[in-house]
């Protein structure tokens, strides 16, 4: 079975043979590709990036992301939670916007409010 490693822009074409825990991965330029193939076949994970509304007229949207990864099948549910947020206090890159969303946090990837520059 063929899959693309999405961990980095190299996008290695992985060839996966075998089943369950007993798989062989070829085509990965680095060990992360092998790990990727394993999780992809057992419990695929994705990071999610989006924006949330703010109360600041000059910066109406604040970019956010999941700190870690969430189950691939939970992306739409996570989006529903993200869509309900409105930031009213100044925030900077790395601040937690929404705690514990499918086992990780939603954090700011930009500045907004007074600290924005």
């Amino acid at each position: 079975m063929e899959m693309i490693c999405i961990v980095c822009p190299n996008g290695c074409r992985l060839e996966v043979t075998g089943t369950g825990d007993d798989i062989t991965v070829t085509g990965a330029l680095c060990p992360k590709g092998v790990d990727f193939a394993h999780t992809e076949l057992t419990a695929p994970l994705r990071s999610l990036t989006s924006t949330v509304a703010t109360a600041f007229p000059l910066v109406p949207r604040l970019p956010v992301k999941t700190r870690g990864e969430i189950p691939k099948g939970k992306m739409h549910e996570a989006m529903a939670q993200i869509r309900a947020v409105r930031v009213t206090k100044p925030v900077k890159v790395g601040d937690v916007i929404l705690a514990d969303v499918f086992g990780t946090d939603i954090i700011a990837t930009g500045n907004a409010g007074e600290v924005a520059a």
Binding site: C8, P60, R61
Partner: protein
Amino acid sequence: MPNSAAEKYDVLVLGAGPGGLAAAVSAHENGARVLLVERERKLGGILKQCVHDGFGLMRFKERLTGTEYAQREIDRFHALNIDVVTESFVVDIQPTDGTYLVTTQSAAGMCRYECKAIILACGCRERTSRQVFIHGDRPAGIFSAGTAQYFVNIQGKMPTKKCVILGSGDIGLIMARRLTLEGAEVVGVYEIKDAPAGLSRNISQCLNDFDIPLHLSTTVTEVFGQERVEAVAVEQVDKNFQPIPGTRQVIDCDALILSVGLLPEIELPNMLALPIDPATKGPVVDQTMMTKAAGVFACGNVLHVNDLADWVSVSGEAAGRSAAAYCTAPRTWNDNATALQYERGDFLYALPQYFDPTASEPLTLYFRSREDVAGKRVTLDLGGEKAAFSKKYRRLIPSEMEAVTVKEAASGTVYQLTMHN
């Protein structure tokens, strides 16, 4: 009318994307008095709207979003207290007796600056619908993927409920996912060529993850709708991009999003009548990033469209270093610089277009293969006894740029890139 006397700087950096920010920092760190000029209110360039991740693996050894990458560069820039003007549009550049006079337009009026060196860092723009041939009306609802990205990520407005994407460039793929996550229906991505233009990882994580179909060798041939797009017709094409009869399909949608590629923004290079390389579509430079106008340097997407912002920063640093060096030791374009030779059949493009053996900057060469090839060797001959660089590539594809840095000094009497078995 320009009111006061021109303010004097060593280096003016035009454009505050990752290229301009890196250039300003490196010119400053190399001793130049620098002013950064940006037409928008905020620094960061196009990265401001790139909320997706995949940036910075090379530069920060971390996986960052475009906005995080930009913020790091902005913080570093501000920490050095380098002068900056925003909401200032560069409208004129005049060479005057060994210096340049740059005129900007802002809400406060016109301003003039005199400088010894200029770094062009004005980025790229998207090919528009005018550069794509489609029959039918031009109703509202036809826009570029970058415009869609701006609406959704900066303004928080959804520009479509149900759309078709024409072209498989990365920004289109990323917007297919973004729009889907925000609740729109992306009917499909249609690509006239028989291979996708974007990175494989984006086909995988932006389309396949969301069951958005990619139709290769298919294009949009007609747009319907009076005020607003109501539908588009798509048709499969043959090898010569001619529609195949009987394959036409009409798709209801309220928007047609174009992701048909980027071009260097050459408005500023044109003000200086700089020679443009037909392959890169950007100005011609030597390995110091100097254009054929002495003291005018260029970096980032104005030179050629990069797929990774990390390489834009690298070229910005080179341009900044070189511009600072130029201010203390001005030089002219070396007419004996060696022109880069390569087969256009093997490479889509390669740059810098010239190697100046008298300049001290090490050479970083960027290239893209013309075709998807496997197991080919690429060799760079700089006139030394041994090749300056030679590497066998597992795979080379046009959408992924390759870069090579050559540390060894070489005679530079030859400057030739070849692809062979």
